[in-house]
């Protein structure tokens, strides 16, 4: 088979795209060192500014196309927050919008060829997820006091199985940040690694049409995944927020 033969020819480094490097020089990476993480995160900030600030600078009552996109994005998340958490969740809308836009643009910028995907790193997604988890848990206790614990006490279930359910609920509650973060980082990492593998095969003449087709197909899928993961991350945040605001089932 061609693949076995080419195994020695190709150098597989599908994970190299995730390596963190200093922007200047080759030195040690300290917490403050400007790295490719810094660079691509700066690009997400610029993207956010382009999408929401530059497009709306005219403040037109009859919006231009770009302003419509900004308004659609705003309305999309605003409606999501309102639908999931209710009216009292709307004051957390800026935070959720921040999360959504960061994840969305980090995902999509990762699709630029040769790009570095910041959301493919568990350090980033776990920070986001634990920030959400801690914020929501603290908010739950601040808003409801000890009554927040009724989230784990399913009062609609028969009394006998409530303790069992409570244990399951508590476990699932603490698993939330893990699944929340690994889902996003895993999706990003896997998709990009697969694209990279296909791209490596494109170096062989015999395989290149198939490989390029594969890259194209995966790229299309990844575009979908990028949006869906940003959406899922955001809507789960909204759901957790709803639990904190209204813990009673």
């Amino acid at each position: 088979m061609a693949t076995e033969e080419s195994g020695s020819v190709f150098s597989f480094h599908p994970m190299d795209q995730f390596i963190i490097k200093p922007l200047f020089g080759d030195g040690e990476i300290y917490w403050y060192t400007p790295t490719n993480v810094t660079f691509w995160m700066a690009l997400t900030i610029i993207s956010v500014v382009l999408l929401l600030v530059v497009t709306t600078r005219k403040r037109a009552t009859i919006p231009s196309r770009s302003q419509s996109i900004a308004e659609l994005t705003y309305g999309f998340i605003y409606k999501m927050v309102e639908d999931v958490t209710g009216k009292d969740g709307l004051k957390y809308f800026p935070y959720i919008m921040t999360l959504f836009l960061f994840v969305l643009f980090a995902n999509f910028l990762g699709l630029v060829p040769m790009a570095f995907t910041t959301t493919s790193h568990i350090a980033v997604t776990a920070t986001l997820a634990f920030a959400v988890f801690l914020a929501v848990t603290l908010l739950g206790f601040v808003k409801n006091g000890p009554a927040f614990l009724s989230l784990f006490w399913v009062s609609s279930a028969p009394l006998a199985i409530r303790p069992v359910l409570a244990i399951i609920e508590i476990i699932s509650y603490f698993v939330r940040p893990v699944s929340h973060s690994i889902r996003l980082a895993g999706n990003m990492t896997a998709g990009h690694a697969v694209i990279k593998v296909f791209a490596t095969f494109a170096a062989a003449v015999a395989l290149s049409p198939l490989a390029i087709l594969g890259v194209t197909a995966m790229y299309g899928l990844e575009v979908l995944v990028c949006f869906i993961q940003a959406y899922v991350f955001t809507i789960l945040t909204c759901v957790y927020l709803k639990d904190a605001l209204h813990p009673h089932h």
Partner: protein, 174 residues
């Protein structure tokens, strides 16, 4: 960028290289804070204001349209009222004119009837006269004829007898 510098780490996942975690987390926090500040200070209030303003404009426009619709309804009602007034006025005028004409007509008919009656009386009088003269003529002719017939039979009768007989017979007829 130097791609070979990371080749030594390529064996494992760069995601699990904990030495880069502080760096990533630091820059992530910086990025999130910057995005949050941009959103909460500039972008979201601006878009919210634009949307609210648009909502206001739309509401105002709808109210104005509602008002105009009301005015149109009022105008229509006024028009209909004017139309109804004009119609009753017209009917009144028609009725008056009709009554006037009827009165004139009645007078004219009465006058015509009277004339006709007069004419009829005159005619009857004329007819009666004619009838009278006709009777006399008939009587004269009858007497003459009778006289001739009697003389043709060689009967003896005086003129006075014949006249008397004819008059009696004619009275019997009429």
């Amino acid at each position: 960028m130097a791609t070979e510098s990371g080749a030594t780490e390529a064996a494992g996942m760069p995601q699990l290289d904990f030495s880069t975690f502080p760096n990533q987390i630091f820059w992530l926090v910086v990025t999130l804070v910057v995005i949050y500040l941009i959103l909460s200070r500039i972008a979201l209030p601006r878009i919210g204001a634009v949307l609210a303003e648009r909502q206001g404009t739309i509401t105002n426009d709808i109210a104005a349209a509602e008002e105009l619709k009301l005015k149109a309804h009022e105008a229509e009602a006024a028009y209909n009222k004017a139309l109804a007034d004009a119609r009753t006025e017209a009917q009144k005028i028609v009725a008056e004119t009709k009554a006037e004409i009827q009165a004139e007509l009645d007078v004219a008919i009465a006058k015509a009837d009277a004339e006709i009656a007069a004419k009829t009386a005159e005619s009857e009088k004329a007819i009666a006269e004619i009838r009278e003269t006709a009777m006399d003529s008939i009587k004269a002719v009858a007497i003459d004829t009778t006289k001739e017939i009697v003389s043709a039979f060689d009967a003896k009768a005086t003129a006075a007898d014949v006249k008397k007989a004819v008059e009696e017979n004619m009275k019997a007829i009429t």
